[in-house]
Symmetry: C2
Subunit: 261 residues, 2 copies
């Protein structure tokens, strides 16, 4: 049997937000290489597979990107069905392009199984539409991982014309807010920080752009989290009227907040 690699997006966390195709690939996998932040419940779906965490874990050195490539290619060449399970969508700030290039260069057959990126799923689950007729007709998604990644784009954006979504930027929140305000975004612009979206300990902060820098993520990690800036954030108070935004609001379950059956 010929080996095969599926680069699969695991979505924001809750296995209920996996696609049917992702579920199928996990159920039939021989080998799963998963990121550390992927939900254990999603990994567990691959019941009959050998499963390896290849992402950065607290207190351990992360595996080099080249090593991940080597593991995927090696397993596929041994005839295995390999699932490379990545947080969110493989091609949205996830190095999926690098992994696809490595597989293509090695001549290993593979596919992309897109997943729900936190860039859109996190705001949606929090009741924030990233676009809204009469407010904004576009949004920007940018990596907050390093200043070099976000500054050139954020410095160019016309204030108020677009919703800004920043992934992996929590550690830079003060500098990000400062950059936008210097560019002309009003300090009163609504902002949100969405943590552990779709997980049982999901948590949402909303406030003004001017207060974003001083926001405290509490026990949540500094690296994860989705920042949203723009007028649409204010819709959350209307879209979820039973749950008025406060300083930091801890919720037991995202689904419950929407009155799920």
């Amino acid at each position: 049997m010929s080996g095969f690699v599926s680069l699969v997006g695991a979505g924001p966390g809750d296995p209920d937000l996996l696609t049917r195709r992702a579920l199928d690939r996990l159920e039939h996998a021989d080998v799963v290489l998963y990121d550390a932040l992927v939900s254990p419940d999603a990994v567990a779906i691959a019941a009959r597979a050998q499963r390896f965490c290849v992402g950065k874990r607290h207190g351990r050195r992360s595996i080099r990107q080249e090593t991940i490539h080597r593991l995927m290619i090696g397993a596929a060449r041994r005839g295995r069905r390999v699932v490379r399970l990545k947080c969110g969508d493989p091609f949205v700030l996830g190095r999926g392009g690098e992994e696809a290039l490595a597989l293509a260069a090695a001549g290993v057959p593979y596919e992309i199984v897109p997943g729900l990126s936190a860039a859109t799923a996190a705001p949606a689950l929090a009741g924030i539409p990233v676009t809204h007729r009469g407010l904004v007709s576009g949004f920007v998604v940018v990596s907050g991982h390093s200043e070099a990644a976000w500054r050139p784009l954020l410095d160019a954006l016309p204030p108020g014309e677009v919703t800004v979504v920043i992934l992996m930027g929590l550690a830079w929140r003060a500098a990000l807010a400062d950059a936008l305000m210097r560019r002309g975004w009003p300090p009163s612009t609504p902002a949100a920080v969405l943590l552990n979206v779709s997980h049982p300990d999901a948590c949402t902060w909303t406030g003004r752009l001017a207060d974003l820098g001083a926001m405290e993520p509490g026990g949540h990690g500094e690296a994860a989290g989705t920042i949203v800036v723009g007028s649409v954030v204010a819709l959350r108070a209307l879209i979820r009227p039973a749950d008025a935004p406060a300083a930091v609001e801890h919720r037991g379950d995202t689904k419950e907040a929407y009155g799920s059956r």
Copy 2:
């Protein structure tokens, strides 16, 4: 029994790209109100539901947005489990925010079930990563529905610093390309048009930004289709080496192109 509305994203087309939560809501629905462009195979999953197309269909007047709100609210108040099935993601250029506001104002319990937006899923399925380390660390998604929607944002974007994704903009492709080139984007910037993504008749055009205006979508509609502009489009030739980009390339099956088992 108390009624309930699920605003569900159907993803780009193929029912395999529905989430497990979306499948669950469809299987248990009493009433489904679906957009015209949603795949019939996705609608058919709601086997026991009353199903109504509420989107614009060729040769018929489209149902007004307020009528959709009235139908959802009325069915929920009669105790029905209602699924409002929308293309892509309900909160990405989909008027989902308006529908959520209407449900909230009516006091009807509801939830958002995010779906795969064509904004990220269409490029991923075509082998185009919207971000790539060393090339771009962000992307912009904008409605191409009207000039007022796209021009203020596109006129402000720093050339080359970001991937541009335009939904529903095929009819404006010449003006969109012109606006970007006037702003300073090189005419040689790689561009792609992705039509009927994840459907059996999926089709991809790739070329230069300078040639986008003259691109012919053929039998495909003018309204649908995803436009991608930026250096990442060139990666497609490497990521899918067996399928070199040509003028217009009709493929039998997107999955096949990735060497699916």
